[in-house]
Subunit: 319 residues, 2 copies
Amino acid sequence: MSKQSPGLVALVGAGVIGRGWIRVFASAGAKVRLYDQDPAQGPKTLEWLRADMALDEAEGFLAKGEGAAILGRVTLENDLAKAVAGVDWVQESAPEKLPIKQQVFRELDRLCGPETIIASSTSALNIGEIAGGLPGERRCLMAHPFNPPHVLPVVEILGAPGTDPAVLERASAWLKACGQVPVRMKRYERGFLGNRIQAALIREAMWLVENGVADPEAVDAVIRDGLALRWATIGNFGANHANADEGIEQYFSRYGQAYYDMFADLKTDNPRFDSPTLKKIGEMVNRREGVKDVAGLLRRRDVMVKKLRRMKAEMEPKP
Amino acid sequence: MSKQSPGLVALVGAGVIGRGWIRVFASAGAKVRLYDQDPAQGPKTLEWLRADMALDEAEGFLAKGEGAAILGRVTLENDLAKAVAGVDWVQESAPEKLPIKQQVFRELDRLCGPETIIASSTSALNIGEIAGGLPGERRCLMAHPFNPPHVLPVVEILGAPGTDPAVLERASAWLKACGQVPVRMKRYERGFLGNRIQAALIREAMWLVENGVADPEAVDAVIRDGLALRWATIGNFGANHANADEGIEQYFSRYGQAYYDMFADLKTDNPRFDSPTLKKIGEMVNRREGVKDVAGLLRRRDVMVKKLRRMKAEMEPKP
């Protein structure tokens, strides 16, 4: 408990989710061991990371040489037992299938020392089903990142039924020390917090487009240049609180009925997600953002989000 | 049609919504006549505007003296006929009751020259019911702003059944020239675009809190430090498009069923909006944002949103 952040970390799974964790931990000074069942994956991942960080150095998001320093803390390890020996934290990012996750967790629980925290990146499964009943259940938890985690800092945290609350505390404190924003869930719900909220928004946004209320560019502009300017700065509850002179209580006592009327009017039909509409939306996004493809969009998003987070960090209230 | 932006504007109603429009038009160089049924309202509004712009000058969002220049373009006018005589644009921000709006529109249509655009700030009513059947219906439309409009640029645009499409084009072009982001709706739906999307998000966020899935700070952090970082930079559809190597079509063909499962799981119960929960949320927001009250939160939001928009403007793709 004396450590401020994990000093030695094993990442199990070096795919798109696993690779995102490298920078989170290594930037915070941890030594990182990267393991993947496929020995060819690790070198590819390091190559990707090198290129990604070179772009960040070119654009000033990393100091010159910082990428090399981060890579210097990462080693590839093809033996799982050796990868996890003596580490403070194991982050599992195996394929998203319950039997696979269960098997990986059984193995990790057997291989890891008693003080090692074992965290799952699962984006959909119930940690209670992944780790419940293991001898070391007390040190197991879900730590579900957004992607990429060094850009989008939220990590959803949930324990299995037998997880030690002190482990959840330590895991949250460590992630915070690594620059993430850990958010604690109290129980499993399908989609966790982020995907549920996103799903609610997507369903309504798609309904408006598919039913001809407005073009996709109009619907997206309302989010991008309207609602989300508030959400990204003071949150949704902050926006509600700001919407009446005396705050959120007054706001919903005044407009609660108008919201009930609106809720009753929101459709629950599934969007069709038909190809022509989606193709048109993708083209609109590329045109609006001035990019040729998804790779260009990802890069643009990362740059903008990093600038936005830098601004927010400068505006962070002093305690 | 030769004008790039409106040169002479009348604002009818100088309350919280009406006052926001002053800066939009006057900053773009228009002369603005401010009318309110209550002759005491105009001077109060100008006082508020002076103080608001003084803060912006102190913080560098306006150049020194720019506030005075903007105020120099605004005149108070207590006679409605004189206020609207010869103007390019009337923006109606009367109380949100259909009979009142209908009466104001009848009067405005009678008083205004044939080329004057008459726009309603209505946030909930159907412009077809407000302006439908008027002799000058063709130049009437809804232009619903976010608040305050010079900070949150989206304006929802919808015509009455008889509105001339050329008027909608000109209104959109003029608002764009004034720095706003006009978004066109194709038909009336309760809540328009923004409030519907916001309602869908609020319902799910409140459900997660009221049903003990997570604390309000956790739910709001997922929005503020996760989802909205993407939404505010590349929009929701942009985020979907970025989420698969080949874009949004691939994304929803791969995850469409997972979304259908999630949609089926989203509850449609009305939130209770009970006072103790709302009070707790308000306190959490004040603590997190480091403010004492709603006025402090509003100021903080405005500063952060202005910085965010400045960053986005710098990142705007060159055509």
